[in-house]
């Protein structure tokens, strides 16, 4: 088995503010990230798939096929967007990078089977860097997304 990893980038804004907490509690908890106008990041995601070599192509997957999947499910909806306002899944949850990682994993997993053959690559994990210094990794969906 071989693991293939492909990196992608998008830029988006968000505000960390939990509806169940008071304004004061939110400011206390999230600090600058609670700014009502929001703020942005250059996100970098790495998608890892694991599988056998296709004997005909000597590859685990066609990177162009993965690119199309990530483009349609993640980059097109997220890039240069306000995550709180424009991504329906974040109407009811805080777009922390933890929740963002879960949501990206969920979207890729939901379309994986219709994109790749059954005996082909499996989605192994995604990692997402909110900044080059804060990196989150998931290999299954954790907690409440």
């Amino acid at each position: 088995m071989i693991r293939v990893t492909r990196k992608y980038r998008f830029s988006a804004s968000h505000r960390l503010h939990a509806a169940v907490l008071s304004d004061e509690e939110n400011r206390e908890l999230y600090g600058k990230c609670d700014n009502p106008y929001g703020h942005g990041h250059n996100y970098e995601i790495a998608v890892s798939a694991r599988g056998p070599l296709d004997p005909r192509t000597a590859r685990v997957l066609d990177p162009a096929v993965l690119d199309r999947l990530v483009q349609e499910q993640v980059l097109r909806p997220f890039d240069h967007r306000n995550l709180n306002e424009e991504i329906p899944e974040f109407r009811g949850s805080v777009p922390t990078t933890e929740n963002l990682a879960n949501e990206i994993f969920r979207r890729l997993e939901a379309h994986w089977k219709s994109t790749f053959p059954a005996d082909g690559p499996a989605l192994e994990k995604i990692s997402i860097a909110e900044t080059p210094r804060n990196i989150f990794e998931v290999s299954e969906i954790h907690g409440q997304a």
Binding site: R3, V4, K7, R56, T57, A58
Partner: protein, 138 residues
């Protein structure tokens, strides 16, 4: 404990499989099927596993590990057209996957006990596309 040594080399390759027709090759490999070849700045990360030696405090002598990787891989791959100049890529397609397997096979026989246990070979074809190979057991 895992220790990783990174090296870099530049080479050209063409991705065409003899098992596929010309049309299929162009469909599967796209620009990479160009018969004239194209190049990459590759990077290889070799990860070995072991415990620090009680005397030296090191898992492996990184200078020695670098010398083995340079001698057995970089000197052979660097500034070459892989398909034409570096077997087995005259017979198998030099995808990043096959390069990772070949690097493993070139290194494994030379990594004696003093180098720890070979854990993984990572091959970057570009900074945004890389593969990891863990040997047949993984």
């Amino acid at each position: 404990m895992l220790i990783t040594k990174r090296v870099e080399f530049s080479a050209s390759h063409v991705c065409r499989s003899p098992l596929l027709s010309d049309r299929e090759n162009e469909e599967f490999f796209g620009l990479a099927a160009n018969p004239h070849g194209h190049g990459h700045n590759y990077a290889i990360e070799v990860t070995v596993e072991g415990n620090p030696d009680p005397v030296t405090g090191m898992v492996v002598d990184l200078k020695k590990l670098k010398d083995v990787i340079n001698r057995k891989v970089v000197d052979i791959y660097d500034h070459r057209f892989l398909n034409h100049e570096v077997p087995p890529f005259d017979r198998i397609v030099p995808t990043a996957e096959n390069i990772a397997i070949d690097v493993w096979q070139r290194l494994a026989p030379h990594l004696t006990k003093e180098y720890g246990r070979l854990h993984a070979v990572r091959v970057f074809e570009t900074p945004d596309l890389y593969v990891d190979y863990f040997g047949d057991a993984a």
